[in-house]
Symmetry: C2
Subunit: 468 residues, 2 copies
């Protein structure tokens, strides 16, 4: 059936404001934020109700129209850009108009929000109720909570609060045939059979369309201590992490690793001073729900015991912002340099030092002209390992991607890590998935896909590796 006929049908199901067909308006939805992936779609649908999502899925399944679900379009693995296999014959399903708070329960410490709500708005709604929603990441001003759930996002506070999977108490989603499954009651324990929602979380829109979720809230941080330590080796950093976790328990809410090259780049870009002169840098934060909690003295004790004497403790909000800006501007500073080959990877914390050393060695042996900008969430072992090639700062660098990935991922695997920590798989990494999953798991993933999406309309071309 031709596109015009689909549009005629869809316009009977949806109101005019829910359908975008103007190609210049569609274009931004078809390109990812890094400008790396370009797709095609004959329409963007932005339903204002869950029942409209159901109608869309019923129609698209019947007509086998591919659907690319999209939140804030901030993903880094191309999951939200239509895959070339859809050949422009599909639609983009934008969840952005489903963006209400449905409920906030103080007794249960939960907030129920729709999928299209921007992460920063979820944080703000929690704050307004004197609560705290801890997911925090670079794109929080534009990414949407449904996308965060679909790719099991991580970010800065995982060391204390876990990833998105840990923050979801209830989920509502639409299956490929339009059926709604809605479990939004804030049940803190519920073991009643196999948990289907656990399958949907992290499946990047390939099994169902998430429309709402009930999320855990926490006590707002009242005392905050931010500190910076320059270190000569990673071992000292993981020792510090261990000491902090064991002294301060959940109060350690972030623990970030920054290489000297990442720091220099960001400091130049930010026009800020480098806080220390060392090979490696750690930015960490302790937070406490009690307003008058003195964290400085116990921290100084810990730092003295471990001989981390050059630590800088932020003594003002300005200083704190200075330190965080250096961390947060790394990505922007990198972008200003040009294109790079990014790796969102994770290894056991006890193997991070070893991994970094041997990966760097192999990489420089194979590609002497590479330069690595390394930073990441050492508190949970995940690293952003970004490789630049001198003189190739355009997208041409991607010609070398496969070979460079080969070196990096081989080292990740040798150090018992995974090729995907917090950005998901999308269309960037599916060909690598069988490196970290057994054949039994890959077969099962395909069985899930066939079961949930027999007509292959939900985000085709994403996550799953070539079918065995």
């Amino acid at each position: 059936m031709p596109t015009t006929s689909h549009l005629a049908h869809l316009s009977q199901l949806l109101s005019a404001r829910e359908i975008i067909t103007d190609s210049s308006l569609i274009e931004p939805y078809c390109t990812d934020q890094r400008g790396r992936y370009h797709g095609q779609a004959f329409a963007v649908l932005q339903p204002h109700s869950v029942s409209a999502v159901q109608s869309i899925l019923r129609y698209c399944q019947q007509q086998q129209i591919p659907i690319t679900p999209q939140g804030g379009n901030t993903g880094l693995c191309g999951a939200a850009t239509p895959h070339s296999c859809t050949a422009g014959k599909g639609i983009i399903l934008s969840l952005s108009k489903l963006n209400r708070v449905r409920k906030l329960s103080l007794a249960d410490n939960t907030i129920t929000v729709e999928a299209g709500m921007i992460l920063a708005d979820v944080q703000a709604a929690a704050k307004q109720a004197n609560r705290y929603f801890p997911l925090s990441l670079a794109s929080e001003g534009s990414c949407q909570i449904g996308g965060n759930i679909a790719c099991n996002a991580g970010g800065l506070n995982v060391v204390r609060y876990g990833t998105m999977r840990d923050l979801v108490l209830g989920l509502e989603y639409v299956l490929s045939d339009g059926q709604l499954v809605s479990h939004l009651n804030p049940l803190h324990k519920n073991t009643s059979g196999y948990e289907m929602s656990q399958q949907i979380i992290g499946s990047e829109g390939t099994l169902a369309i998430i429309t709402a979720a009930t999320l855990k809230l926490f006590a707002p941080p009242q005392s905050i201590l931010t500190a910076w330590v320059g270190l000569e080796n990673i071992q000292a950093a993981t020792d510090l992490l261990s000491a902090l976790k064991n002294h301060f328990a959940e109060r350690l809410s972030s623990f970030e690793l920054i290489s000297q090259s990442a720091l220099s780049l960001s400091a130049r870009y930010s026009q800020l001073q480098e806080p220390a002169n060392a090979k490696w840098h750690i930015l960490f934060e302790l937070t406490d729900s009690l307003p008058t909690q003195d964290l400085t003295e116990p921290l100084i004790n810990v730092l003295e015991q471990g001989n981390w004497l050059n630590a800088i403790i932020a003594d003002s909000e300005t200083k704190r912002q200075h330190l965080w800006t250096l961390r947060e501007n790394i990505s922007a500073a990198q972008r200003s340099l040009g294109a790079s080959i990014k790796h969102d990877i994770v290894v056991p914390i006890e193997k991070v030092a070893d991994f970094i050393e041997s990966c760097q060695q192999r990489l420089l042996t194979a590609f002497p002209q590479t330069k690595t900008i390394l930073f990441g969430h050492l508190g949970d072992g995940s690293l952003h390992y970004n490789v630049f090639i001198a003189d190739i700062l355009s997208n041409d660098v991607y010609h070398y991607e496969k070979e460079i990935n080969q070196v990096v991922y081989e080292q990740v695997l040798q150090h018992q890590g995974s090729i995907a920590a917090e950005h998901g798989i999308g269309q960037l990494k599916n060909q690598w998935l069988s490196q970290v999953r057994t054949p039994a798991e890959i077969n099962w993933m395909w069985a899930q896909k066939h079961y949930f999406d027999p007509k292959n309309i939900l985000n085709p071309g994403k996550v799953l590796p070539p079918q065995p």
Copy 2:
């Protein structure tokens, strides 16, 4: 094939010490701890290695021999007792000899243990390394960690540390055809495709046999404050919970509700004094990783603000033990009374007060001769709602189970709760499962079962409701 022939084959796969065939030795494995379920098996197999588990599964699948996996046999829903549908033609697979610590990583704050390790031994191994494993429940001296994972156990500390699902970082399991899937690396973030291990957790041995797991560890509590408050209504209790969570954040590690009747029963049984005279009682604990943390003063502030003035703060370890003994002896005191109809249920915390009131009303209207012993983990909304019938203190009480369940579960559902909080489904509740799951979910559960266990050898008769 007759049993003797199976035994002959199995004795080629296993050593003599791994096979129990003496019927008097088999008997204890065939009865659950409440003496409610009795099953039959022609042998108990207790493999000493994962490869022996694999051999057993390969043989049993080939021969279609039903397997009932068993840990410490402490479950309350009959999941570990052979179902009558196996008609004595199956074996019990005891994991108890797979009970080693495989690894403890201080840098990653994790412990990797085999499935048969007793929960208290896992706690002790963590403690020895100056770390803390938080899962804590009545049967911790005999239940096994594999069983805890298989039924997604909860217990006393869920308000702070979550259920077993939240504590598992890596899982190793054997599929019904003997294939091993092993992901025991301590990866704190890893989003690489659909997460098969999330399907295995909470599946009560019906999809795979868990052989080992990598578990999160935490900082050991150094400062502990235990308190008891008598209250006239549940609303005051949930207000107190809210205030404590918002002031002390994760320091609130348990928050237990005890009804006056449960307290009186336990106090008589324990020969201890009742700490307060009130309709409802709360026992809660604040813990801190800092050794010199003064929690008393900030707690008194909170209690004053909310007018919870009759709180008793334990001022010695003896007093603390006194309070906890009263809580912990409720179950034993109940058992000494006779048989009861137990409900392990959960409702949103904001609905607990309403639920208790209307359920009690309906129950007394329908069955004036019932008496309810109510206690539970109010911090996460889960309740143990146990119904006695005057003059029927033998197992004859179960004749009334269906009718009483009907009343209780109807109220649970009307209050947006679930019929299974932390004990699982087993063979006690599978006929009720479709009350809390949609047809789409039940169909999917059956699809999972057929996929993972096409010959229906893994714990048949458990968890799943009648096939649609």
